[in-house]
Symmetry: C2
Subunit: 446 residues, 2 copies
């Protein structure tokens, strides 16, 4: 399998497949990320909030930060490392000029998608945090709501609107009020959004747990409008950890598996059974653990339902889960071998640009080892058809399929697009043997 | 798949396979449990501690409890439900006379193993807690050590010693002092123990984390004497939970996956690489999540090692893990389909008698759905050969293989052995729709 190994070379070119096996495939990623550009809020807030809008400042060490609601926030570091030599990665705050422009510039993003041969993308926030929890924490909730709506307007109109054949809109919601949530979902749905990002574990944010009926108005409107609810790892402002002092790789290993806890909460909750057409996506959760998990749920159900009184009617927990839950992966051979245990119609593919886990630019290549386990029909479902169907994304109103393949998109780019983006300023500044505490503390505070 | 479904009938007889497909197989379980009998400490403590020995009392409601070190402790309930109608299961404390005698009587245990067609068993403590943490918490540590040694003597001499062809000894250790740990391991190894039970997460017990070099003397002596270190779910006196108020099935679903965090801590720790011949067992952890987990570890390693400095030499994390870690399952089709990703030589089978997750008496039957995915050679490794090799268990010094098969052992039992054990006292006393909080609070306190 082609991987980013060593970094003496200055180009990713040798990671790309030349056998042609991927050429005709089409890829749509349901999990990428925007590093919000500094000017995104300009002209998008009511006049009375203009002075309170989030703004970017340069700090003494040259790094950048957002200033908002009395806080100074960095949201970059490992989130924006794509295309940089791995030796220069680290937890240090970053600057726009140290990143690939595709992190924050939509035109350059489309070019980087072309470099990877990827047609479509759904992008999560960074400064706003994975499910917009930044604005839930805003002291003045009216300001928070205004900024949240400005984010959604910018995201839908400016970012996705610039390339409707390339981006699927993903809205954030005012977590603090179910009625406001319903109103915002109706508003952004009318603007073309068919997905929202919500928290994997709202209880950790100080809100009622996922299973609480408090959220029923949200599930109801999402079911009614066929809006997918995406739960992204980290959207509880926390990451799994093993123990103090363990190396950073422990948290990185477990990060997707925070959604295992979410999946558990969901499968046993009333709301899946009460909203039969609701769809939930476990964003960046991986899929290889699902066959085990679903067998385990059914095992627990069969062993305990006689005394607990839990009742799934004529179905098993695994069956109810598979009707509702969209599972998502970056690279996951075990899950694709056992795809029938998961349900081929509910598996979607991810690139995770520009995070450290991203497979860019060899994203289709990271899928190649799984090709022998899948029929062509299954491949198309997983790489793009499921995403298009579930998220109501129809790029082929704007372009032909022949113009959308890995080969066709990569033909639009140049060798220069594959050069490493190095930053002299960051060389040797990484922390060797960092601990997970460093990651989780940055994660929670930012 | 044959499962305990409905409980109108009074016998388990119809759960047993009659096709003959299992008849010639041999099963050794590396995870069962003893409910300690009330007389176990009699005559096993120095005279000065005789009055402080743990003892069993009957409470006003008729239930039993151990009294020790100022605490009154129940350790039964869902831990001793085997063979009872599932409608009568619950979290309520239990009495010896409400259990199958095999929970606490070694002769009846052997008979119940015969009923299931199971040759061998390794048994974890109950009152003493999964890794003997009860004695770590003892106020007077000299008393704690004396009781701990009495436990080990009883376990090795009385329980396992009564049937050396049926039981593998499993020692507990004085968690509070590495030097005492080493001494106790040497002492019980000399008495024939080739395994100890340690904590899945000692940090949660107030001890240094698993990755801490504090534990190096323990790893060193276990490597030297080829003693397997078993880490059982719950041996941190905690269970995973999702959120307050979630149903009890959430904790039951996640319970094995507490060992996913342990596996993560282990794979990135120095000690696996520093003690190349050390063997660790993830007891009751399941195996179906391991292929995903191991792929994830390697993915993290390839993506991050250039800047984190983590170094596995010429191996991958997954390779180091597979050299050291014994994985264990009760029923796990996904893991057995992907057995080559885990390593067929390091997978062991479990029955979990007498806990609520136990497959007794249809334990071999719960393995039957996986037979088509395995060669006969692989089946024998997984059902008994790996356990015998890794835990230095040689029942065939005492008996022939022909006397050890499912068919041969079941032939020693009667239809009456398959009758339900019902308890009028417990009917209708279960809590309907119990929450996970009830389970976890019982679990931590007991």
């Amino acid at each position: 399998m082609t991987q980013i190994e060593g970094t003496d070379a200055g180009s990713f070119a040798d990671l790309l497949d030349t056998s042609g096996v991927l050429d005709e495939l089409i890829f749509v990623s349901v999990d990428d990320h925007i590093i919000e550009p500094a000017d995104m809020f300009e002209g998008r807030l009511p006049a009375k909030y203009q002075d309170d809008a989030p703004r970017v400042v340069t700090r003494d060490d040259g790094s950048l930060a957002w200033v908002y609601d009395g806080d100074e926030v960095t949201s970059m570091g490992l989130n924006a490392v794509v295309g940089r030599p791995p030796e220069e990665w680290g937890l240090e705050p970053d600057r726009f000029e140290d990143m690939r422009k595709g992190c924050y510039d939509v035109h350059q993003r489309v070019n980087d998608m072309n470099v990877a041969g990827v047609l479509g993308s759904m992008c999560f926030p960074s400064f706003a945090q994975f499910c917009g929890q930044r604005f839930f924490r805003t002291t003045d909730k009216d300001l928070g709501l205004a900024v949240l709506r400005a984010y959604n307007d910018w995201h839908i109109d400016a970012w996705c609107g610039a390339y409707p054949d390339r981006f699927m809109p993903l809205g954030i919601i005012p977590l603090w009020d179910p009625q406001l949530i319903v109103e915002e979902i109706r508003r952004i749905h009318a603007k073309g959004a068919h997905a929202i990002t919500f928290s994997e574990d709202p209880y950790k944010l100080g809100l009622p747990p996922l299973h609480d009926h408090h959220w029923y108005p949200m599930w109801a409107v999402c079911e009614e409008l066929e809006v997918v609810v995406c739960l992204h790892l980290g959207s509880s402002s926390s990451l799994p950890a093993t123990s103090p002092g363990s190396v950073i790789e422990t948290s990185q290993t477990l990060a997707p598996l925070s959604l295992l806890s979410t999946a558990t909460e969901i499968v046993w909750s009333d709301f899946l059974r009460d909203f039969p057409n609701l769809k939930i996506a476990l964003s960046e959760g991986g899929i290889g653990w699902l066959p085990y998990f679903l067998e385990r749920c059914d095992y627990v159900y069969r062993h305990h339902r006689h005394w607990t009184g839990t009742n799934f009617g004529d179905k098993l927990p695994s069956e109810v889960f598979k009707e509702h839950v969209i599972s998502c992966f970056i690279e996951d051979r075990p899950g694709l071998v056992l795809k029938d245990d998961i349900g081929v119609d509910m598996i979607c593919w991810e690139m995770d640009y520009p995070h450290s886990d991203s497979s860019w630019p060899a994203a289709p290549e990271s899928f190649a080892p799984s090709l022998p386990h899948l029929t062509r029909e299954e491949i198309d479902k997983i790489t793009y058809e499921n995403a298009c169907r579930l998220f109501k994304f129809d790029p082929f109103r704007h372009r032909t399929k022949a113009e959308s393949t890995v080969q066709a998109l990569r033909a639009l780019t140049t060798e220069d697009d594959l050069l490493y983006k190095s930053a002299e300023r960051l060389r040797g500044k990484g922390v060797m043997h960092p601990t997970a505490d460093a990651l989780t503390s940055q994660f929670v505070s930012r």
